[in-house]
């Protein structure tokens, strides 16, 4: 019994020891950006205080049991302890002292709530994050006119009247649209505007910041910031249906010049393969089979491409598909040798994945053939990708060849 009683504090001590292990990609004890560090500075002393109080209560109770215990077999029921009914001073004391401690904790911690809300000066990088079942879309406002169109034609884009409209009519087709991996410049705060197309999700990259829900019909602000270049894993943390466990993401922080190069590349229209090549055939397959949902943005001077961008249903934009490390909600590697779960990718290779890794054809083939078999989805309700058993092996080869050219 004594062993058991001493076992509990040992277990609690392990709690501290178990945290702060960098082989755990989602570890909240390894902040790597100023926001997460600010939270960490709050957490540590509070946990310390909690431990002290917890051990005190545990220790006193354990000590009382060992000291004051009587044997029921031999105990004389008339051997009474002092019949103490209470002690008002003591009780007021342990009402007021904790109240004062908590008041101090409040005064000290509440400002952090406001700090976490702090936004950049206008004009800095801002990314629109859209959650949907079960992947993330990112939109970079590269043309500087905001994320939203002037739907009601009053001359002001994205004002309150515009935001009454469904999201699909609102989104600026000229913005850079990517999925699952949020690419950011290292060493600076990136503001996020969060919303959702369907149910509530929550955006969480623990090494960079706490989480914030993405709620349909609402536009929440949040931010992430990484001290240095690197990959930081995240996971949707609001329950969102059958593939909630497979709605992951990562943030990839690149040094500023790399980031600028990346964004410049993403801003380009998709390359059109050489006529007659396998990839060209793949583009034909894509346009026949995939464009109902997916969009690959080609030259936006062509109004047909604008219409295509606006009418595609919610599915990842594939314009620069081959620049991404993983797909399907960041769960399947797009390149052989990258493990999206481990998420300690060497980001120096991120700018040129094709030169460092082999395209993960088998995984893509399995996915396109039978996506619902690879990840729980409900395509019958237009939630997630449908299976394509009708594609021939040759068509799949062509399609994958085309996707590999989208860098």
């Amino acid at each position: 019994m004594k062993k058991l009683l001493t076992g509990a504090p040992v277990a609690l001590a392990l709690l501290l020891a178990g945290c702060g292990d960098d082989s755990k990609p989602l570890n909240t004890y390894e902040p790597q950006g100023p926001k997460a560090e600010a939270i960490d500075r709050i957490i540590q002393p509070i946990f310390l205080l909690a431990f002290v109080i917890g051990f005190l209560v545990f220790g006193v109770v354990a000590w009382l049991i060992f000291n004051n215990r009587v044997d029921p077999e031999t105990y004389d029921p008339l051997d009474f302890p002092d019949q103490v009914h209470g002690n008002a001073k003591l009780e007021w004391g342990w009402t007021l002292v904790p109240a004062v401690i908590l008041a101090i904790i409040s005064a000290w911690s509440v400002p952090a709530i406001w700090d976490l809300e702090e936004k950049n000066e206008a004009g800095e990088l801002d990314v629109l994050v859209i959650g949907q079942q079960w992947w993330w879309e990112y939109r970079y406002d590269v043309n500087g006119n905001g994320f939203f169109l002037d739907v009601d034609g009053d001359g002001v884009a994205g004002d309150e009247d515009d935001l009454q409209w469904p999201l699909e009519l609102l989104l600026d087709p000229e913005d850079v649209v990517t999925a699952n991996q949020l690419v950011i410049p290292a060493g600076q705060q990136v503001d996020l505007t969060l919303t959702s197309r369907d149910v509530i999700h929550s955006y969480w990259i623990p090494r960079l910041n706490g989480k914030r829900d993405t709620v349909p019909g609402r536009f929440h602000t949040w931010s992430v910031a990484a001290n240095e270049a690197g990959e930081f894993t995240g996971w949707c943390t609001e329950f969102c249906g059958i593939s909630h466990a497979r709605m992951r993401m990562s943030a990839i922080a690149l040094d500023k010049p790399d980031f600028d190069a990346w964004l410049a590349n993403q801003s380009e229209a998709a390359a059109i393969p050489e006529e007659g090549s396998i990839a060209w055939e793949g583009r034909e397959v894509f346009q026949a089979q995939c464009t109902q949902c997916h969009n690959i943005t080609e030259d936006l001077d062509d109004p047909a491409n604008v219409v295509a961008a606006l009418t595609a249903k919610a599915a990842p934009n594939l314009t620069h598909f081959a620049t991404r490390a993983a797909f399907a909600g960041n769960i399947y590697s797009q390149w052989v040798g990258i493990d999206p779960d481990a998420a300690q990718m060497d980001v120096s290779t991120y700018l040129d994945l094709g030169a460092n890794y082999r395209f993960n054809e088998p995984e893509l083939r399995r996915w396109i053939r039978n996506a619902p078999g690879r990840k729980d989805m409900a395509p019958e309700d237009e939630r997630g990708m449908t299976a394509f058993p009708q594609l021939s092996d040759e068509q799949l080869d062509q399609l994958i060849a085309y996707l590999e050219t989208l860098d």
Binding site: A50, A112, H244, D341
Partner: protein, 647 residues
């Protein structure tokens, strides 16, 4: 199950009137189905909760087995969601709440010296409608799968567009119906405490458990309707095409969150306060001294009851409610730790200087103190909203509320079971098995939920069907699963103990443990064990807090405590002659079970609402017109003529 009161012979010969003859029997199956006796109803609440505990526990073990190792496929995404949703829903609504109701029903009336609750038939109805709703919820397993929206069931995922299967309808309507039982029960028990206390039992002479029951029932009275409103809106959305939570029609999904948590947070306190009440009875009995600071214990419970209404949005710190709201709720949440801390410290002070008889009930009580403290401290950690942005929706929260609800509430209830078992069943639970029960639960519980603190801080999100080895969650998950198996066995040991103890007690021909096996303090120990059907032969007169104890012991002239009377001599003999009890009735159970028929009708075919509605109306009329003249003509009330009670 071995839950059976010894047969109490009651003969009535009233005249048959009405559509269904008012039943005359208080024994056998019919006796249970038609009973209006608060004790039998209390036992049925307990038995039903134990039954649902098996379902909720099986779901818990499925979750733990699924998560024992990375990338397991025992449960697919959909199945996993149904299992964890039903686990939470069943445990909250069909296990912890009804165990609280079981103690409130059985113990509160005899602790205040009453013969029954204020409205015995409504009491029966409350139980049956809870059971009807609970069973209806669980029929979903066979009718398309359990609910899959989480116990919190957030909009818009709970809408027909995102959750087309009927599981959420079962959740919605099943709990709606069960909630009617909570509500009518709350009115009943509040009325009982307010009006039926024995003469002399002033507010400040009520046992702490009675106080906590009163606070709990007020919480229920005001909290359940908020959930009912949300469920009504959701029913119209899902079953009749309304748009209360349809974002494309301009709805704000946060409406559901506010409604749910305005209910949901008081809910947390109404689950824990009965357990607080129980250990406040157990600890003084086995520390051999009165509860330390009775007025503070009562006031802190009541203050928790009030403050519990002002902290709901701490469930929404990352929902995007704005920094001002977050700050306000963060501070409010921190300060609710003050009255809770007072309770902890007053229990510790009661132990301080006591002579501690470490019975199983006492072990479970100190288990509550320590484990609830852990849960309370992690609660303060995420009351700090900035810190909560990392912790919320991770396993850290799972650890937190299991320490509060399992390590706290359920341990308290087990303390109560060991403490009051002889009063209800006339034999003591075996102490050796009891220690096994306690220690296996302590070890299993802390192995299961202790590691979840670590997992949460290492970033493991909640409600995850699976995880990958590369995330580094594998080892602690395995430990938690091993712990859960120990805990599963440990939790069931009380049933084994009950069976073995009962058999042994009978086989050994042991004498009745007597009215007061623990040398305890309150009125329930002043009557025979098991409690006679009529509770009290005559209404006790109360002169002090812990009245029964002060009738046993008093100070002599040297201020030494001496025994002045023996419990056996003080106890009422259990002679029910001349006592009128309300007669059993068929109508409560019929009225209760008309409701799920209507519920199924809303889900599957509105035609079903017709027979359901007819049964409901017939039951209401039958109830209202039921004859009250079923007194045994030989039995007179004290004033010389039979009292016609129709409640």
């Amino acid at each position: 199950m071995t839950l059976a009161l010894p047969p109490a012979e009651q003969k009535f010969d009233g005249s048959p009137l009405g559509a269904l003859v008012r039943p005359r029997t208080s024994t056998g199956l019919k006796g249970w189905l038609t009973t209006v006796d608060h004790k039998k109803i209390g036992i049925m609440y307990g038995a039903a909760a134990m039954f649902f505990l098996l379902i909720g526990g099986a779901a818990a073990l499925l979750i733990r087995i699924q998560l024992a190792a990375p990338n397991q496929t025992l449960l697919g995404g959909d199945a996993y969601n149904r299992v964890f949703t039903m686990h939470g829903t069943v445990m909250v609504f069909l296990v912890v709440m009804p165990i609280g109701a079981a103690f409130a029903n059985y113990m509160m009336p005899i602790q205040i010296g009453a013969r029954d609750v204020a409205f015995p038939r409504i009491n029966a109805f409350s139980f049956w409608v809870f059971l009807a709703g609970g069973l209806m919820l669980n029929t979903s397993w066979f009718l398309g799968g359990g609910a899959n929206g989480g116990w919190f069931n957030y909009a818009p995922n709970n809408g027909i567009a995102f959750s087309p299967s009927a599981g959420i309808d079962f959740w919605n309507l099943g709990l709606f119906i069960a909630g009617i039982g909570s509500l009518s029960g709350a009115v009943n028990l509040i009325t009982t405490v307010l009006n039926m206390r024995a003469p002399g039992m002033t507010w400040m002479r009520m046992p702490v458990f009675v106080w906590m029951t009163l606070v709990t029932q007020f919480l229920l009275l005001f909290a359940i309707p908020v959930l009912t409103v949300a469920q009504l809106l959701l029913m119209f959305d899902r079953n009749f095409g309304a748009n209360f939570f349809n974002v494309s029609q301009g709805a704000d999904p946060l409406l559901w969150q506010h409604l749910f948590w305005v209910f949901g947070h008081p809910e947390v306190y109404l689950m824990i306060l009965p357990a607080f009440g129980i250990v406040s009875e157990v600890i003084p009995a086995f520390a051999r001294k009165p509860i330390f600071g009775y007025p503070f214990m009562v006031a802190s419970g009541a203050i928790i009851g009030f403050m519990g209404w002002g902290v709901w949005a701490h469930h929404m710190f990352v929902s995007g409610i704005g920094p001002l709201s977050v700050s306000a709720f963060s501070v409010a949440t921190m300060f609710i730790a003050v009255p809770t801390g007072v309770k902890i410290l007053n229990w510790v002070a009661t132990l301080w200087g006591g002579k501690l008889l470490m019975t199983t009930a006492m072990w479970f009580s100190v288990g509550l103190i320590v484990q609830f403290t852990v849960g309370g401290l992690s609660g303060v950690a995420h009351a700090v909203a900035a810190s909560d942005t990392q912790q919320t929706d991770t396993y850290f929260i799972v650890a937190h509320f299991h320490y509060v609800l399992f390590g706290g509430a359920l341990f308290g209830f087990y303390a109560g079971l060991y403490f009051w078992w002889p009063k209800a069943f006339g034999y003591l639970l075996d102490e050796k098995w009891g220690k096994w029960n306690f220690w296996s639960m302590v070890v299993g519980f802390n192995l299961t939920f202790g590691p979840m603190h670590i997992l949460g801080l290492q970033g493991m999100p909640r409600r995850m069907q699976t995880y990958d080895d590369a995330m580094g969650f594998s080892n602690w998950n395995l430990v938690a699963t091993i712990g859960s198996l120990i805990l599963g066995v440990g939790t069931l040991l009380i049933l084994v103990n009950a069976m073995i103890s009962r058999r042994r007690w009978i086989a050994d021909g042991r004498p009745n443990p007597g009215p007061d096996p623990w040398d305890a303090r309150t009125l329930e120990w002043s009557i025979q064990s098991p409690t006679p059907e009529h509770n009290f032969d005559y209404t006790p007169q109360v002169t002090e807090l812990d009245d029964f104890w002060h009738r046993k012991y008093a100070m002599d002239e040297n201020h030494n405590l001496v025994k002045i009377a023996d419990a056996k001599d003080l106890a009422q003999p259990g002679n029910g002659e001349g006592v009128h009890l309300p007669a059993p009735s068929f109508w409560p159970i019929l009225l209760a079970f008309s409701m799920p028929i209507i519920g199924y009708g809303v889900m599957f075919s509105l035609w079903l609402t017709i027979p359901g509605g007819i049964l409901m109306m017939a039951s209401l009329y039958g109830w209202a017109l039921e004859p009250a003249d079923d007194l045994d003509p030989k039995i007179d009330d004290h004033d010389g003529h039979g009292e016609l009670v129709n409640v």
